[in-house]
Amino acid sequence: MRIKITILTFLLALGSVLWAASSPRSSESPNIPIAHSQEEADTMRVDGERRFHANCGRCHAAPHKFPPRMMATIVRHMRVRATITDEDMRLVLYYMTQ
């Protein structure tokens, strides 16, 4: 039974790796999103702040903002640790780097 679970888990992971490696990167790059207008920037900042408090505040007090390259690492770490969604991660990263 445990051998089957191990093999199944391994096959799922391998398939995912190969699928992702062959996918176009532009559509899933975890870069900071770009606002195309001031209005869009304001909306993203407000949405990012809301999602920041909802996601990050569930566990800890709000930290101060770090430089963008540090925030990119921290948000990636928290995406994995707290299983936050891809969209939340991008908007939180946008908010924390403005």
Partner: protein, 365 residues
């Protein structure tokens, strides 16, 4: 405040990590080429970070004083757009007076909490291999660091599941509609007894949670099956709630296994809405926790070897945290434990800090 794995107690020699090491190396090598070819502007490229926490506490539990100093460095090494290598170690010195009096003495324990490679395959899936924090409930994975937890004493039920596991994990979070996000984790772990810093049990398990962004409420369930010895099951429930109108957070867990069962609920309230002494009050947080443990089907000695109470226990705790600055807080708490083994007072006073340093340039020309 550590506890032991089941394999520490039962001394059962079991196979090595060879199979999982192979999976780790294979995934790492398959994914490394596209990872290193990924393109990200320099100004946004994640930089390696050394972060973590450090603290010093004095615990007085049932009259026994423990001086506890600890540092928990976390290394975050991002690679390309999809990879993250992360690791956390724990160095903790716990010093007590010997029975009968004398100077404080003790040892410094070293523990590798996790050392994992994460591959963010797509918005729905992250693959993790290596040594990782066991995703059973939320305390172990999210609330354990001393700069995060509002009360420094561990919950009584924390040892009901292993702290770390060696193997593979699939996890992710995604919106199911505009009002709910789903998150999940499934994992398989191999037994490891060769080195005390890499100890783990052979088990499989998973956790699923639903987060409602509107009321800022998360609820979830966890399950774990031990694939060795008594092959027992453990399951649990958890919740986390952050009311939108109050500077407060609440968390809770319930867990049950053949070793025992119990629950804890805590709340932390930041006094930022108090109208007097605002400079001080907005830095002050009051916290409380109520918890209960019910003994399971193991002996009191086995329970204590695992870090569990040896008898049915109730506990209430109240504390204060004062945030001196971002990432630095002074903490003090008092708790009362009620048990058929004897009641006890639990005092804690100390200081906890978080640090973060980039291991590279953060400003691009």
């Amino acid at each position: 405040m550590r506890y032991f794995l089941k394999s520490d107690v039962q001394h059962r020699p079991l196979p090595t990590l060879r199979g999982h090491a192979f999976i780790f190396l294979f995934l790492f090598s398959v994914g490394m080429v596209p990872a290193l070819l990924a393109q990200t502007p320099d100004s946004e490229r994640p930089v390696p970070i050394l972060t973590g926490s450090a603290g010093y506490f004095t615990f007085v539990n049932a009259g026994q004083t423990t001086l506890d100093a600890q540092i928990n460095p976390v290394l975050l090494l991002p690679l390309g757009d999809h990879w993250l290598v992360e690791s956390r170690a724990e160095f903790e010195g716990a010093f007590q007076r010997p029975p009968g009096g004398g100077s404080y003495g003790g040892s410094v324990s070293k523990n590798l909490d996790y050392a994992q490679v994460d591959y963010i395959a797509n918005p729905y899936l992250t693959v993790t291999v290596g040594r990782f924090l066991t995703p059973f409930g939320i305390f172990n994975e999210r609330l354990y660091p001393i700069w995060i937890r509002s009360l420094q004493q561990d919950p009584l039920i924390l040892p009901l599941s292993a702290e770390s596991s060696d193997g593979m994990m699939l996890r992710g979070g995604f919106p199911v509609d505009a009002k709910a996000n789903l998150n999940y984790t499934v994992y398989v772990s191999a037994v490891s007894t060769g080195h005390s810093n890499l100890a783990s049990d052979r088990n499989v398990g998973g956790r699923i949670g639903v987060f409602l962004p509107g009321p800022r409420l998360e609820v979830g369930v966890s399950w774990q099956k031990l694939l060795q010895d008594e092959r027992s099951n453990a399951f649990g429930f958890h919740f986390a709630w952050l009311p939108a109108q109050l500077p407060m957070s609440m968390h809770g867990e319930y867990a049950r296994s053949n070793q025992g069962s119990g629950y804890w609920v805590d709340a932390a309230y930041r006094l930022s809405q108090v109208q007097f002494w605002q400079t001080a009050m907005r830095r002050l947080e009051v916290a409380g926790r109520a918890e209960q443990f019910f003994s399971g089907q193991i002996s009191a000695d086995e329970a204590q070897a695992l870090g569990l109470p040896g008898a049915n226990t109730r506990e209430g705790e109240f504390g204060l945290n004062y945030y001196l600055q971002d990432g630095l807080k002074a903490t003090a708490s008092y708790g009362r434990q009620f048990s058929s083994d004897g009641d006890a007072n639990l005092w804690t006073v100390g200081i906890a800090s978080r640090f973060a340093f980039p291991l590279g340039r953060v400003n691009t020309p």
